[in-house]
Amino acid sequence: MMHLWLQIILNGLLQGGILGISALAFSLQWGVMNLINLAHGSFQILAAYLALVLLQRLGLDPFLAMPLVFLIFFAGGYLLQFGIINRVVSGNLFMTLLLTYGLDFVLANSMILLFTADYKSVNTSYANSSWHLLGLQFPIVRTLALVFLLILSLLLWLFLEYTRAGRAIRATSMSTEPARLMGLRIPKVYALTFGLSSGLAAVGGIFYGLSNAFSPAAGGPLTVGAFVVTILGGVGTSWGPLVGGIILGVLDAVGSVILGPTYVNVITFGLLLLILILRPNGILGRAAA
């Protein structure tokens, strides 16, 4: 019995990896540009389809395809921000919500046209296999997702803290006027940020596609998950997605066993409500200066 619970908690912990990578992307663009990207989940599903196509057509393993998919999404995100989102991003929050909501529609429906509305999965030889350790099952894909989340969080943190471009992103996120006075071009800083976010979202999307069946409609729940994890960990923090992802993953896993899987949303949103009441800046978030 004890063993069963350990496995359930482990499953939740590992689920936190996929949630966390997704939130890493969502939190970065939110923290830097105050942009809540409602098309986030659809970006991820699109990346899963891209990985699927690369696997089926070229026989390219999804992990080998990852750098390529990252770069494609980085470029696409950069151009999207530079050409379109920058036009509204400094305005009313409602405008960016409206724009990304529309974008989500376009993406989701384009995917239905291209890939049909049927459920697909990225079937690799290891997609459903597990490592066994201490009598516990470690599903390969989810375990790697957690490892990737750790590495990506660390890399992102190092990039933001110790590089010139990272400093520019942090400075811009704090205040745009002095950033402009330093000679920064805010539209380019934003484009770089959204490019990075899109690339990270795509990596998370590949992991999602490797461990879940998905359809073009799967984007919405992914956006919601990223939203909750971001609030939980703290908007714009480097380690918040890791902490938030693990907490939500474990609570969902344990809760769905105790209360039944239909109550997962109750747990998710109950947690969101609780954190907004008790610690509105998130677990790792600092109060606004």
Partner: protein, 233 residues
């Protein structure tokens, strides 16, 4: 070398500056004086490309600045230490200073950092501290240091003395004279009219968005109406 001609600036239908003419020669310290709401900060923001003029021209070393973005203006050697300092409060002192050197790609940035710490030993002691935790005077030093890190040829200073102890104000203004001695031209906007004019070569008085008076600083200091209006004497 720096010339403003017929500059008119407004926010929508409300005009803030009317037909401003102003000239600065290389190596000068110019004081810009005026009550709150006279348009001083608007003028500085317009020079830096944060606001666009409705008409008129701003030129620097043969380049027309109006229409350029702030990035290009900073590249031409202008830099503003803004009112209220506008530090990156969540970043360390050193990171703030490095942001000042953002557009520089030369290898002297490290040396200039040391120069700033020599100039302001307090900043050196607090280099790893978050800028938001500094005292008002230290924050102003950090903001000035950040501007100097860009190696400006024309430095604009907006209300450095606001909320600072008189002894800190004296120290900062003396430093402006030293900065000029090293070849930087300075346009200084100051509440502390007397302290500013004592160190300036010439001054301009802004009233209701227009240049009301201009001339050599000693003359302005002795001008009766100016003394009554700004010095309370």
């Amino acid at each position: 070398m720096f010339t403003i001609k017929g500059l008119t600036v407004g926010y929508g239908d409300t005009k803030v500056l009317w037909d401003i003419d102003l000239e600065i020669a290389p190596g000068e310290i110019i004081a810009l004086i005026g009550v709150n709401g006279a348009g001083k900060t608007t003028l500085l923001k317009t020079i830096m490309g944060l606001l666009s003029p409705q008409s008129g021209s701003i030129s620097y070393r043969g380049h027309e600045l109006s229409g350029l973005d702030t990035h290009s203006i900073v590249k031409l050697g202008l830099n503003l230490t803004p009112q209220g300092r506008l530090l990156f409060t969540g970043m360390s002192v050193e990171e703030n200073l490095l942001m000042g050197a953002y557009l520089r790609h030369d290898s002297d940035v490290g040396r200039d950092l040391k120069y700033i710490y020599d100039l302001f030993p307090r900043l050196g002691e607090r280099r790893r501290q978050r800028a938001g935790t500094l005292s008002g005077g230290e924050q102003q030093m950090c903001a000035l240091g950040r501007s100097l890190m860009s190696r400006p040829s024309l430095l604009l200073l907006d209300e450095m003395s606001l909320g600072l102890a008189p002894i800190v104000v004296e120290m900062l203004l003396d430093l402006v004279v030293e900065i000029r001695r090293q070849g930087t031209t300075v346009l200084i906007v100051e509440q502390d009219v007397e302290e500013a004019l004592r160190r300036a070569d010439r001054g301009y008085v802004l009233e209701g968005g227009r240049i009301a008076m201009s001339g050599p600083a000693p003359e302005l200091l002795n001008n009766t109406s100016l003394r009554i209006a700004y010095l309370g004497l």
